[in-house]
Symmetry: D2
Subunit: 135 residues, 4 copies
């Protein structure tokens, strides 16, 4: 079972078209990623200094299937997959919770692990490697 | 007892100083307001069209007492007070949850009720008036 | 020559990693799109009511090639291409301006034109069609 | 003459009420502050490491006088005043540019200078002190 994050849509997520601004879907996906890491015992705040590595996002892709409005409740699933010894992808599905649950968006982010000091590719720290395996 | 909203600090809330960007405290306060209204049965998405009124924010004030970092858990209280027949204030206190709970910020917003059509001051719709009384 | 938008990176664009948050590249791309439309005489604020159509974003893709920090100056190019009678894509390139200009990101958004009333696919309004042709 | 920053309102600044979200006025004020510092030769990106001090915002106040919509052009003035040997305030006025220029908002932020290492109050670095004097 993938990790699930639930989230209510709020006013600051929306734009003048009355719906969630397309860039904010990515911010919500990142929140889900942080919650998944947190549940696995990793803290993003100290991850960088604790491990000497950073995992910047190299690519993102999004399909926006349904508009989301203020008050909508979301269930976001997060599924990690290792791509190479230094990179992984996360796939997110956004479901709008309701009498009939609807798929509202599909997001994909690609992350590369690098050493903070040298900016060169670096194997995953142990806790991250374990989460990627079991995620 | 005031309404309580709990919220985790995420990466999109922060800035390059490593802490929550000062403007984002106000966005989090607005989320707490929306949740308080939602709990009282009001939906911000349809409030404007349902009631023919809008309640724009005329003033805001904030005291930033402690920095907040990614992963911090907040408890935000919301306390409404009627100011005039057409305006009210909301006071928010941000507590950082932890072994010793700390007051992290105090926010105040002032809202004016106006008719959407004429943009003139207008009494509160009934559901809003009731929430302001019982808040 | 594609349309060019110049933009300075500011604190609210950044996150606790000290660089521009990945979702904010998409927000900056949208700013460039708005400026391109504005230069062609279209106003996003009244476009929807003026034409009875909306052009929501159906897909986005981004490649993040270099981190951007507070104070960086960007040149963003916008190149539109018609895909079908009801859809178009925009390709953006982000260049960090400096002694040696560097490509910092590539973004792509896909937009679908629909009638506001029926939510069904609709041909492009004339001004939009012209911009897409000459873009 | 106070420092002037010009800025166009874009979609990401707005919310589902169709106007600029109240918290985003503060983000725009911060952009104006950064531009004022940059014009005076200070770079926010390296200010902290260059000087060993930080100047977090301790308070903010805002009066929202007129709604702002996508495409509006703003002129934002920034006026600094020293309050104590370790603190200063910035006053911002937002003017909506147009046939008749209108005051759209008044913002005030209060900043405290502290040493990064000890988090104790610290005199202003020289370049900042000079800007505050000549603002």
């Amino acid at each position: 079972m993938p990790f699930c994050y639930t989230r209510t849509i709020h006013f600051p997520d929306t734009d003048a078209a009355g719906v969630v601004f397309f860039a904010n879907y990515l911010a919500i996906a990142h929140e889900a990623y942080e919650e998944a890491l947190g549940t696995a015992g990793m803290k993003l705040h100290s991850f960088f200094s604790d491990t000497g590595t950073v995992v910047p996002i190299a690519k993102s892709e999004a399909e926006y299937l349904r508009p989301l409005v203020c008050g909508d409740k979301l269930r976001v699933t997060v599924t990690p997959t290792v791509l190479t010894p230094h990179s992984f992808e996360l796939r997110y599905e956004f479901f709008r919770i309701g009498p009939t649950e609807k798929l509202a968006a599909r997001i994909r982010t690609e992350h590369v692990c690098i050493a903070s000091a040298t900016r060169e590719r670096h194997p995953f720290p142990a806790t991250l490697a374990e989460w990627l395996k079991n995620g």
